[in-house]
Point group: C2
Chain length 332, copies 2
C-alpha cells in the first residue's frame, strides 16, 4: 500500500486538508450556489442541529454512495473492464489458447467491434480469467500495479484522477458532520478497497460491492483466502438495498447515485421513517466529462430521473452545478 | 428499539460506565491477575504505545469476537435454537399440519429425545419456519419481543443477561484503546443485530453472522426487504475468515473464540504480518456456568485447544481466571 499512498498523496492531501480547513468557510467550494448545493446544506444542518425537530443521532448518520459515474467517471467503459482488458493482454503469453478463443481473441487483437457485443457471458469470462484463481493478497497487488501504470484513453491520466472534486468535497463535508460514508457499488468489492481509502477516505470496512466467492485454505501451512471463478453477489439494482441491509444493518439517511442501477438504493433510503436525502448526478457535460442518460449503454439513467422528479429528489446537472469536475482542473 | 433500550438500560449503564471510568484504575476488574489478563494488557500496551516497535495505527486495530460461548452462554443449546423452539410453539395454532410433521411435532410436544436427533436438516426446517417469510423489520420486532419475555431454563433470567462480565470489560478496554470491535458469529446476523449494540456496544455494521437470502421488493409501493427460506452463508469454521475478508476487508489483529468453529478465524488473525493476539475461552466452570470441551455437542473445543498450545495462544480457564462470570452476580 505504501507505494500507492505515495502516489496518491497529492490528491489525498488536498482532499483531507479540505476536510479540515474548508468547513469553516464554504464546505462545498466546487459547487455553484444552485439548488443542489443549497439542498445538501439544508439537509445536513437540519439533521445535525441538536435543537432541530429532524435531529438524527450520530450512529444513524449513514450515507451511501455509488461509485461508477457518481464518484468517478465510467466512460468510455467501466474502469474495471479496462483493468480486465489490460490484464488479459498481460496474461496472454501464458495462455496461447486465447488467440483462438472468444472473447479473449477480440481483447488481444483490440477488436472493439466484436468486444462491444460479447454480452454478459463474455464479460463474465473476462472477469473470471482476471479476477479469480489467486489469493486476495495477490489480487490486491495486481490492482495496485495497474492503478499506478494504466492511463485513461481520453485524459491520459491515472484512472484514480478521474474522480469528481465536488463529490470529494461532499464526502468530506458529510464526514465532518458525523456521517459514516459508504461505497455501494456494482464494481468489485476487492478492487474498490485497493483505492477507496486513499482516494475517497472510505476505509475497506465501509466498501460494499459485487463479489466472487472465496475459499479459506492452508497453503504450505499458511492460511490464505483464494478467489474462486464463481459469482457470489451482484451489487446492483435490487441488490443494493439487500447488500446495505446485509453489510450495514441500518437504513441510510442519505444516498447518492447516477443511474437506474441506483434506483432501489434511493427508494430504500427515501422510505425510511425520518428525514432522508436522495441525489442523482446527471451527466450533462460532454465537454469537461461526458453527456449521457436514458439511451446510454453504460450508466443508463431513465427511470431514476423520472422518479427523482416525482419524489422531489435532488438532481445535479453536472454542467450547470459544478464549477470544477476533476481535481486536476484546479491543481495542475 | 426503545423498549429494548429501556429494559437493557441497567446492564448497558453498568457496561458503558465501566468503559469510561474503569480505564484509569484496573481496566479488567473481573479478571484475576493471572496469565490471560497479563497477556491481554501487555498486547494492548505494545500495539498502542506510540514509541513501541509494535505500534499499530488506529485504522488497523480490528478485533473480532465469536458470540456463542465467547460473549454469552450457549448451553443447554444455542439461544437462537431456543428462540426457534419458542417461536414454533407460538406459531403452532396457525399451522395445524405441524402436529403430525417432524421436527415440528417434537417441538410442540416437548419431546426432547426426538428433538436431540433432528440433525442438520431438521434444524434447517425449524430455522426456515421461524426466520424466513417476513420482512426484516418484522423479524427484528419478533426477536425483540422474544428477548424481553423469554427466560433461560437454568437461570430463569433473560438470555441477554447471560453475557460474560469479563468479556464486556475486555470489549470496553479494547475500544478505549482505539480498537474497532466486531462480532463474527455462527449465529444469525439479523438476530445478533437486535441486541449487539445495547448489550455489547457493537453497532449493527460491526456484526457479522450467518445469513439467509433476502429480496428487495415493493409491497403496495413501499420498499421492503423480505427474508427467504434459503441459506445465504454459514459463518462458521472456514466461513469466518471468508466473512471477515468480505465484510471488513482487513485482517484482525486480535481474535477471541471458544470452539473449533473459531479455529480458522484465529489462524487467519495469527498469520498476519505484524503482532497479533488470539484467545480461547475454555469452559471449565460447571458451578457458575458450564464445563465442556472436546466431547461436547455444542461448542466443541478439541483441535483449537491443541493448536492454542502449539501456537502459544492465550487460553482462559473460566473457573480460575474470572472472578465473576455474569453481571448479575455483582449487580443483584
Amino acid at each position: 500500500m505504501k507505494l500507492l499512498v505515495r502516489i496518491f498523496v497529492g490528491l489525498a492531501t488536498a482532499h483531507f486538508a479540505s476536510e479540515v480547513m474548508v468547513q469553516a468557510a464554504d464546505p462545498l467550494p466546487s459547487w455553484r450556489d444552485n439548488a443542489p448545493k443549497q439542498a445538501i446544506i439544508a439537509f445536513v444542518e437540519k439533521v445535525t442541529r441538536e435543537d432541530s425537530p429532524d435531529y438524527i443521532p450520530l450512529p444513524k448518520r449513514i450515507a451511501t454512495f455509488d461509485n461508477d459515474g457518481c464518484l468517478w467517471s465510467e466512460q468510455p467503459v467501466y474502469f474495471q473492464l479496462m483493468f480486465a482488458i489490460d490484464r488479459i493482454k498481460q496474461l496472454a503469453p501464458q495462455h496461447p489458447e486465447w488467440k483462438i478463443k472468444q472473447p479473449f481473441k477480440s481483447v488481444i487483437e483490440g477488436d472493439k467491434g466484436t468486444l462491444a457485443k460479447i454480452g454478459k457471458e463474455g464479460l463474465a469470462k473476462l472477469i473470471m480469467a482476471t479476477h479469480a484463481g489467486m489469493t486476495t493478497d495477490e489480487f490486491s497487488n495486481t490492482v495496485k500495479g495497474w492503478l499506478l501504470t494504466a492511463r485513461h484513453p481520453r485524459f491520459k491520466r491515472p484512472y484514480y484522477e478521474l474522480v469528481y472534486q465536488p463529490m470529494l468535497e461532499l464526502l468530506a463535508y458529510l464526514r465532518a458532520n458525523g456521517f459514516k460514508t459508504y461505497l455501494v457499488s456494482g464494481g468489485g468489492i476487492e478492487m474498490l478497497r485497493v483505492f477507496a481509502e486513499d482516494v475517497y477516505g472510505i476505509p475497506p470496512e465501509q466498501v460494499i460491492g459485487s463479489s466472487i466467492k472465496t475459499k479459506f485454505e492452508l497453503r504450505d501451512g499458511q492460511p490464505a483466502i483464494v478467489r474462486l471463478p464463481e459469482i457470489d453477489f451482484i451489487d446492483d439494482k435490487e441488490g443494493k438495498p439487500v447488500a446495505i441491509n446485509k453489510f450495514i444493518g441500518r437504513r441510510p439517511i442519505a444516498s447518492f447515485g447516477n443511474s437506474d442501477g441506483d434506483l432501489q438504493m434511493l427508494q430504500w433510503t427515501a422510505a425510511g421513517k425520518g428525514p432522508s436525502f436522495c441525489l442523482i448526478v446527471h451527466h450533462t457535460d460532454a465537454e469537461r466529462e461526458w453527456a449521457y442518460d436514458h439511451d446510454s449503454y453504460i450508466g443508463k439513467l431513465d427511470e431514476g430521473l423520472q422518479e427523482a422528479k416525482q419524489q422531489g429528489w435532488t438532481v445535479v446537472d453536472m454542467k450547470q452545478d459544478w464549477k470544477v469536475v476533476y481535481p486536476f482542473e484546479v491543481s495542475d
